[in-house]
Structures are given as structure tokens and as C-alpha cells.
Point group: C2
Chain length 432, copies 2
């Protein structure tokens, strides 16, 4: 998978399998270790070997490199908790999608590769087997920036199938880059959820000392087993220290730091719960309770939607085709939801031509209010729909979903300003 034809020929002629112990010799160097999975994004001439030290090394091979099999991989039983489920434990489906949480560092290049399967992931965190019965599988394995509506639909379909098939909850290991977008997509696509679906990521890969992969995975399993919450959630470290995880509502959460482990924050509401790593769950906000009933999959989405941030000096001419070529556009305006005069005109033209335009704020925190300034009222006159206190990213996902559910103008507007999955919170006087 992803190897160069030359290297693939060498490995095939050896009947090499992942897990085999191999010896790689190259111009004065030798590497002995276990042959690891090769990911589509890795250099096609590199073989990845897990050394005895536990570190992975990527060795660039060439015509002068020799590879020998030292010993063959032994078939092993890696998931006794899966094969022999305990009847007194809840059962959780782990649906892998890729990302840092399911990745390893290539110590030659320092690069992080998504390579571990969901099985590997669960096997690496044996504590999960003590908490619940695990059914792990890989739905796909990609960097989360490459996520599309197709991936969301495939994932939502798998979640609905497993939940309606009887598991008590789903854990979705996911790349953190776009985890907030996917959690919003799952929130809208999965209607009437009576069980928890927890997206979980890691900011540091599992073979780094500071990894948050283990604690986040274990906390996700604990949240499903110990809490009474139903719905779509994102679980990540609450603080930069190793003390607790925060559980965020899937429609109100945003990645607010490039690298910190506590990068995810609930915006315009409190996190739902705090899970202490020493035990115990503390609820911080009201939440939907678990009940009986099948989840309804409503995965229709119109992918032809754009998200634009307004900025002073934005050229209406340059963005005319973006505004008119999409069925929907979410704008992250300035302040209470503003754009420049000439952008108001351009937006009005796009709306006349049939584009649905929703206004949110690039401030992220607070609520759009188009009634305070003339600019806002001009936008209302032009037909812009208020995004209320939705995150721009959530409004983007919601608009795709709404346009996938109905083509009726009034219904599109009604759905966008109605709270469906906790994405719009009530006005609070303190912010006025």
C-alpha cells in the first residue's frame, strides 16, 4: 500500500508481512525490527520498522538496500474482550477515521503518519477492555483536512448501523483539525439519538511522552459507560495539565489552539461535563439523557456551500463567482455580523440569483444582531439569514444539511434560525 513498484517487488518476493521481524541493510547501516504498516502518504521508498527500543524508524531504500526476513509474525489474539464479550459490560463501537490519535511519529523525519488501525489503537490502550466490550473497525484513515461530505455520510451511516445494531455508544477517533466540523455533521445527520457518540482526538501522537491519546480514549469509554448523556460530543483535555477531560456539545465546539492538548473549547456555552482522570464525572450543563429508540439517519447534504470571512478591503468583484456559484454561503462578518457597503450589494445580488446567505461573526463569541446598525438592517433587507450565536463552522455544516433536506425557501430560513441540535443557545442578558 503506497510503496514504490521497486520496493513492492522486493517485499513481495520475500513474502514479507506487517509484523515480520526484518533486517534492513544500507550503505554501512543496519536496522532490525518489526515491519510496520506503510501509509499512502509516506515516501514510497521508505520501509517503517519498529526497533526494539519501541521507536519507529523510516528507512529510505534504494537499489543498494537489502532486506531479509529474520522471523515471521506470529498470529496472535489481540482482542480477547472483542472475541469473548463479557455480558456484564456495555459494548462500545470504536470507528477509526485517522488522525493523530491513530498515528505514529516517523523518527527519521519527525513527521507524523496516520498508520495505526482502530484495532492497534484499542490494543495500545488495554484499559479500555476493562471498561467495556470493544468492537473496533476502521471506517477510513485520512488526515482530517481531507474530510468531505462523502466521508461524513459514510461515518454517520456506520454510527447509525452500529447503534441500531445494539452497541451502547460509539467512539470516533478523529483528526483534531476538522473534528469540530465532523461533530457538527454527525449532530445533524443523526436524528433522535438516544445514545452517546463521542469524537475524540489527540494533539500529541501516542508514542510521545506527552501524548493525550490514552487518557482521551479511556475517558471517552468511561463517558459512554458511566454517564447518562445521549447525543454527539467531542472529548479532549480540559486543561494543559493531565487532570481531566472536557466533554463538549458537538455543535458548540471549536479548536482554538494549534498544539495545546486543551485546544478545544465550548463557544457560547459551558462544556457538558468534566471527567476526572482519577474517577468521577461532573456535569457542567444540562444535557440530553439516554432513552430507548433507534436513531434516524438523515444524511442528505448539499456539498455546494462555502464559508467566507469578511475583511475590510474585501473585493466584491473577486468574490462574485464564489457567491453565485454556491447554493449557500456562510459569512463570518465583523462584529455583530457586518460587511462593507459594497459587499452588502454583492450579497444582495447573489441572494436574488438564488444563493442562501447566512451571517455569523468572526468574533466567534457572542451573537449576531442585524438590528443594531444600518449595515445589519441593509443585510436583512437583502435577505440574509441570521446565524444567531452559531459558530461559523457549525453554520456552514448546518446550511449544507438544511439544503440537503429541503428546497423550500421559508423552510430553509426557519430551520436555520431554529435550534435543532443545541447549535443555537438562548439569548443571555449578560451579553447585551
Amino acid at each position: 500500500m503506497g510503496y514504490s513498484l521497486r520496493l513492492l517487488d522486493v517485499l513481495r518476493s520475500l513474502h514479507a508481512e506487517e509484523g515480520d521481524t526484518v533486517l534492513v541493510k544500507d550503505t554501512g547501516r543496519e536496522y532490525r525490527g518489526i515491519l510496520m504498516p506503510h501509509h499512502e502518504f509516506s515516501d514510497p521508498d521508505v520501509v517503517v520498522i519498529k526497533l526494539k527500543s519501541g521507536y519507529n524508524v523510516g528507512v529510505k531504500t534504494g537499489p543498494g538496500t537489502t532486506i531479509e526476513i529474520v522471523s515471521k509474525v506470529q498470529p496472535k489474539e489481540r482482542k480477547p474482550h472483542h472475541m469473548h464479550p463479557a455480558k456484564d459490560k456495555k459494548t462500545v463501537a470504536v470507528l477509526g477515521t485517522g488522525g493523530t490519535i491513530a498515528s505514529y511519529v516517523d523518527y527519521r523525519t519527525g513527521a507524523v503518519h496516520p498508520a495505526l488501525s482502530a484495532d492497534d489503537l484499542v490494543a495500545a490502550v488495554p484499559e479500555i477492555g476493562d471498561i467495556c466490550n470493544v468492537r473496533s473497525e476502521v471506517i477510513f484513515s485520512i488526515f482530517s483536512e481531507n474530510m468531505t461530505v462523502d466521508h461524513w455520510q459514510k461515518l454517520a451511516g456506520a454510527v447509525a448501523d452500529r447503534l441500531n445494531g445494539g452497541v451502547d455508544g460509539c467512539i470516533i477517533p478523529h483528526g483534531t483539525d476538522t473534528m469540530g466540523y465532523t461533530s457538527a455533521a454527525m449532530s445533524f445527520m443523526l436524528e433522535g439519538l438516544t445514545k452517546p457518540v463521542v469524537l475524540v482526538g489527540a494533539q500529541r501522537s501516542s508514542d510521545r511522552p506527552s501524548t493525550d491519546a490514552h487518557t482521551n480514549l479511556v475517558s471517552s469509554a468511561r463517558f459512554i459507560v458511566e454517564s447518562d448523556a445521549a447525543g454527539v460530543y467531542v472529548l479532549m483535555h480540559e486543561t494543559s495539565s493531565d487532570t481531566a477531560a472536557a466533554v463538549h456539545l458537538g455543535t458548540k465546539v471549536r479548536k482554538m489552539h494549534t498544539s495545546r492538548r486543551d485546544a478545544f473549547h465550548s463557544v457560547n456555552c459551558s462544556p457538558v461535563a468534566r471527567i476526572s482522570f482519577e474517577g468521577g464525572i461532573e456535569y457542567l450543563a444540562e444535557h440530553h439523557k439516554r432513552s430507548e429508540g433507534k436513531v434516524r439517519l438523515r444524511d442528505g447534504m448539499d456539498a455546494n456551500v462555502a464559508l467566507l470571512q469578511f475583511y475590510p478591503g474585501m473585493s466584491p468583484a473577486a468574490f462574485e463567482s464564489v457567491l453565485t456559484s454556491h447554493h449557500g454561503v456562510v459569512i463570518a462578518g465583523s462584529g455583530l455580523g457586518h460587511v462593507s457597503k459594497d459587499m452588502v450589494t454583492a450579497i444582495g445580488k447573489a441572494i436574488e440569483a438564488g444563493t442562501k446567505v447566512v451571517m455569523t461573526s468572526q468574533c466567534l463569541y457572542g451573537r449576531v444582531n442585524l438590528n443594531v446598525y444600518n449595515t445589519g438592517r441593509d443585510l436583512i433587507t437583502a435577505g440574509v439569514i441570521s446565524g444567531e450565536d452559531m459558530l461559523p463552522e457549525t453554520a456552514y455544516v448546518k446550511l449544507m444539511w438544511v439544503l440537503g433536506q429541503t428546497s423550500n425557501d421559508g423552510e430553509i430560513r426557519r430551520l436555520m434560525i431554529t435550534d435543532l441540535r443545541g447549535e443555537i443557545t438562548e439569548r443571555r442578558e449578560i451579553d447585551d
Copy 2:
């Protein structure tokens, strides 16, 4: 100014002036009060009158409306501190640009209008006259979302002129929507600043009980008079209570809430200072000290730059013309600075065609690092310039400025990754 031709004719025939006491009669209603300035954005048929109660009312006039002059405005001396400057006080230029801080609420419609002149503004806050000699003038009066490079150049020119003419500092009352963009523009355009330039706004207009206009203006004057700091700063409430203002570096500040008075936050660094409303300045970070020397105006900017937020599902085809029609594009990527595979391809093509592309992060907090994942390295290979820990908005303004200074490829790249005005902070281990 901004009146309908019909209303203008009526007012001219009366020789009506702002400040005159007038009586407006309309179908059974009478309004008596002082004729107030009419702003270009107001309804052209509305006259604004300040009632005896102090409230402003906008009266929509028609052919049936009559207007009488009750008494003429008395010429008055409103700025003794300006006409007779005290020699023992510092002199501060107040350069009005519009915005909520220089606005009033139209109680008929509830709308906020930018209407007060810089003189009115200073007259409304007489405490400023006790702190310093004030030279106030209106550079322009607009909603800040309508700010363009032309406005920035006009403003920077005025600041340089007044500072080099001898004032000790400048206060720039500004709309909060795009104040962070303007403070970045002033930071780059004004080179070698030896005095303070303080942009100040208000989230609540000055005739509302919860207004922050007064405290922010007074604190700005105090910061110029009492502190030893030189450079471009933004001053706003530090917390939601009325206790202190925070002074932020002009290149590291962002509006993070639509309506709270403490909406502005320093991102990836600490505010420079805290100004207690009860007295005293506490420094929170190192800052440039005042010295002698003229400021150099370097106001060249290439306005043909765009700012784009990446999102999963972003269509390369839809954004192809945006990427190639601009001389520069700043992208707010996901996480450490990522975009989808097909956007990497589209960006590479645009760079080949001559567009300069700078990568920042939509996380806002933290630092871009294109060396961790393959996506980042592909972007480096494509020629993308790292925005380090710059805010997307600051990187947008800086790229316009850099492209206005040089057309040399290597120099553009060097300037973008070099800290010029505090916009790039050093790597901190805690974030790694």
C-alpha cells in the same frame, strides 16, 4: 449632508444650522429640541433632534411636515483647553474616524448612528481636558467595516503629521468591528514610532448607561500622559466589570466577542498594560519605550490581497479565480496550517502564477508549523510562506504592506517571516 433634496431645500430656506432650537410638527405630533448633525447613513428624510430630556429623536419628515426655527444657536467656546493650551500639560491629538465611540442611539429606531464629531466627543468627556491639552479633528466618519487601504493611508498620514508636528501622542477613536485590522495597518505604516498611538473604541454608545466610551477615552489619555510606551496600541475594557482597561499591542489584538465590553484580547501574548480606573498603570509585558525622533511614514500597500478560511469540502474550482486574481492570499488553515490535498494543488498553481500565499491558522491561538505533517511539507514545497504565530488578520494587513514595499520574491518572504512590529512572537516551549 445626506439629506433628501426636499428636506435640504426646507432647511436651507430656513437658514437652519446644527445647534438651532427647532420645532417640528407632523400629523398631530410636535418635537422641540436642538437640531443635531445628520449622518450620511441616516434616512435622508429624517431630522435628528436632541430633546430637553437629553434623548435624541429622529423625526421622519414628509411634504406635510413643518419646521420652524425657535432660536438660533449661540456661538460658544467649547474647547478652552484647545484654544489656551496649558504649557505644563502634554498635548494629544484626537483623530476621529467614526464608530460606536463617536455615535449616538436613534431612540425612534433603536439604531446606532455615527454622528458625534471628535470635538463633540472630547466635549462630552471633559475629564480629558484635565489630563492633557487636546487637539481634536475628524479625519473621516465611517462604520469601520467600510475601512479601506485609502482610509488607512489617510489616517496614517494624519498621525505622522501630528506626531512630527509636536503632539505627544495620538488617540484614534475607531469602530470596534475592524479596529484590529486598522491597528495592524497603523503599526506597519508608521515606522520608528517614538510616541504612543492609541486606538480606542466602545462597545456601547456614549448615551447608554453601560457605555464604555468615557472610561476608554480617559484611559487612553492617561496611557499617553502617564506611561513610557511608544508604538501602536488598542485600548479597551479588560473585564466585563468597570475596573480597568487593557492595552494591547496593535499587531496581536483581536475582537473576540460581538457585544461584551471586554471583547478585545491579546492573542499569543499578554496585554502590554492594565490601566486601573482608580489610578495606576501596571505593565504586563515588555514594551517599546519612548524616545526622540520623527516617525517615518511608509504607507505603501497593495490592496489586491485576500484572506480565506479553509474548511473541509472547500472547492478548489470555486476559489481558483480568487487565488489567481489577487497578488497575495492569506489562508487561515486548519490546525498547524493545513488545507485539503486538492487545495494544496490549487494553491501550488496560484503560486506558480505569481500569487504570494501565506499560511496562518483558524485556531487563532498557537503557531503554524508546516513541518509536522505531510500536508504541511507539501505546502512548503508548493512555496507557501509560514505565518508563524501571526493572527490571520494581521498577516493579511502585513502582506498588503509588504507587497507595497517590495516586489522582490526573496525580500517578500524574508519580511513576512521576520518580526517587524511585534506581530511574530518567539516560540515558547510550553506550546510544543
